[in-house]
């Protein structure tokens, strides 16, 4: 069931100005990823899409879901390249090329006084986006290049380097055409290396949005069909 969304006037203007909404587009097949609106112009293969954290939200890494021990980042971005935007309903392919974190602080972790860095390793990751109703966004690593994140933490005992890998080598989120967001909730990571002071597991939650096609002039919003 498709749901129509109100166009952003600014985005529409930008798209029209860029000539990216030809009449033929309306007659053509609607792919999984479109810009401007549901059923709008298809996102071209090779286009870059990206998003920051949703305004007013943070990315968090909990030791256990809902725990009082966690790391919060107020800045995080992701960026991907569309590799196979197939007709809807279906599953589009992307390559996750960027995911970063900054302005991170620890809370309730007794030995840790600061977060030096959180770095996502082994990029790019294969990513899929599936049509409604699942709206699933699935990031998958490979055996040789698993989904991995390295945290450097300052503690009273030294600088702790904790390396975590995604459970089952995948991270799953949900896209939402309201706000063009992607939400990850309690995605489990397992400690791959590091001292015992690193939590055995980390649970990642974040909501990114709005997702925009930055290759297209005006960076129109991206919708899932």
């Amino acid at each position: 069931m498709r749901k129509l969304w109100t166009l952003s006037a600014a985005a529409l203007t930008a798209v029209l100005a860029a000539g990216l909404l030809p009449a033929a587009a309306h007659a053509a097949t609607v792919n999984v990823l479109t810009t401007v609106s549901v059923g709008g112009p298809n996102v071209a293969n090779g286009d870059a899409v990206s998003a920051p954290l949703k305004t007013g939200t943070t990315a968090t890494f909990y030791s256990t879901p809902g725990s009082s021990s966690f790391i919060t980042c107020t800045v995080s971005n992701f960026g991907a390249t569309v590799t196979s935007n197939v007709p809807a309903p279906g599953t589009a392919g992307e390559s996750l090329t960027l995911q970063n974190f900054s302005s991170c602080t620890p809370t309730g972790i007794p030995t840790v006084t600061a977060v030096q860095s959180i770095v996502v390793n082994n990029l790019p990751y294969a990513t899929t986006v599936t049509s409604p109703p699942s709206n699933q966004v699935k990031v998958t690593g490979t055996a040789t290049l698993p989904i991995q994140t390295t945290m450097k933490l300052t503690s009273g005992l030294g600088t702790i380097t904790c390396v975590y890998r995604a459970d089952l080598n995948q991270v799953v989120g949900v896209a939402n055409n309201v706000g063009q967001s992607i939400t990850f909730t309690n995605q489990k990571f397992n400690r791959f290396s590091g001292p015992s002071a690193c939590f055995p597991n980390g649970y990642f939650s974040a909501a990114y949005g709005p997702v925009k096609d930055t290759t297209v002039a005006g960076s129109p919003l991206v919708f899932v069909n």
């Binding site: 503690s155 030294g158 290396s193 590091g194 001292p195 015992s196």
Partner: protein
């Protein structure tokens, strides 16, 4: 004649055992409020040590560690650790103090240690040691009792080595042997030539013929001070620390004038080169209280005491 020998042997053995167990009650310090909660067992932390009070220290702390199982293997002789071994000491790390970097990028502070306030940094009880090639029908005569004793300061205490393939600390020990014939000053190892243990919760890299073995960091718990002080406690429960790269030196002081040293050396194959011996400390519970301020740490521990 025979009965006199047995009596003498019994007396020597009894003297040895009394020397081990016979701490009179009057020697005990006056009862004082003992730390409880996350600071339990830290009553002998050397909080009055001038070394800990050095203003150059960035971190100071207290350690209590109790091992309730495991084994010591020297050559082909294995002794089960059936009695608790307790370590208690203070630690400090000066600003810009020594660090060590592990392969995963962790840069760990290397703490120095201060002996326990009561002088009992390491306490243990005697363990019966079979004498290779000899049926043990009369313990203390056809076997020996061995007690682990400290042979120098504990060094290179690295809390973040827990879970890493690196020693958590360096522990110099000597084994005090008690037997009717060995006398009271019979040791394997000495203060000048100790058995230096470097136990790890990670995986060892021993010389052959030993092969790598792996310890276990146990269950870690991190706790902030419950009364609002700045101290925090890191505890490891049920850990197993292993070292099979340890070298065991020769015996000394056994028999009159060391006349039986060669017997000990022969039956235990001493000196035993690294790669032929194994130490396993299992069921080890360790708590480390750390604070950036000695005064704050003192108050935190005092506030927990009942």
């Amino acid at each position: 004649m025979r009965s006199k020998r047995v009596s003498a042997a019994t007396a020597v053995m009894a003297a040895g055992i009394l020397a081990v167990f016979g701490t009179p009650a009057s020697a005990q310090p006056a009862a004082a409020a003992k730390p409880t909660g996350i600071y339990a067992g830290m009553g002998n932390c050397p909080l009055s040590s001038p070394v800990l009070a050095d203003p150059g220290n960035q971190q100071v702390g207290c350690v209590i560690s109790v091992t309730r199982g495991g084994s010591v293997t020297i050559g082909s002789t294995t002794v089960a650790l059936t009695q608790p071994i307790t370590l208690q000491f203070g630690v400090y790390w000066p600003a810009s103090g020594p660090t060590v970097e592990f392969p995963d990028g962790t840069v760990a502070n290397v703490f120095s240690t201060v002996p326990s306030a009561d002088g009992k940094t390491l306490t243990s009880s005697p363990l019966q040691v079979p004498i290779p090639g000899l049926a043990n029908f009369l313990p203390g005569v056809t076997s020996a009792f061995a007690q682990v004793e400290l042979a120098g300061p504990i060094t290179e205490f690295i809390p973040l080595a827990t879970g890493e393939p690196a020693p958590v600390f360096r522990l110099p020990i000597k084994l005090h042997l008690f037997n009717a014939l060995f006398g009271l000053r019979c040791y394997i190892g000495s203060n000048s030539s100790p058995i230096v243990l470097g136990p790890t919760t990670g995986t060892t890299s021993p010389p052959p013929p030993n092969v790598p073995i792996t310890g276990d960091a146990g269950v870690i718990d991190l706790a902030s001070d419950p009364n609002g002080f700045g101290a925090f406690v890191v505890s490891f429960s049920g850990a197993t620390l292993v070292d099979n790269s340890v070298r065991v030196p020769v015996a000394n002081g056994c028999g009159i004038g060391g006349s039986l040293d060669w017997v000990i050396n022969t039956v235990f194959g001493l000196p035993a080169a690294a790669g032929r011996n194994t130490v396993v400390f299992s069921q080890t519970d360790t708590s480390l209280a750390v604070d950036s301020s000695l005064g704050d740490l003192k108050q935190a521990i005092a506030a927990s005491a009942h």
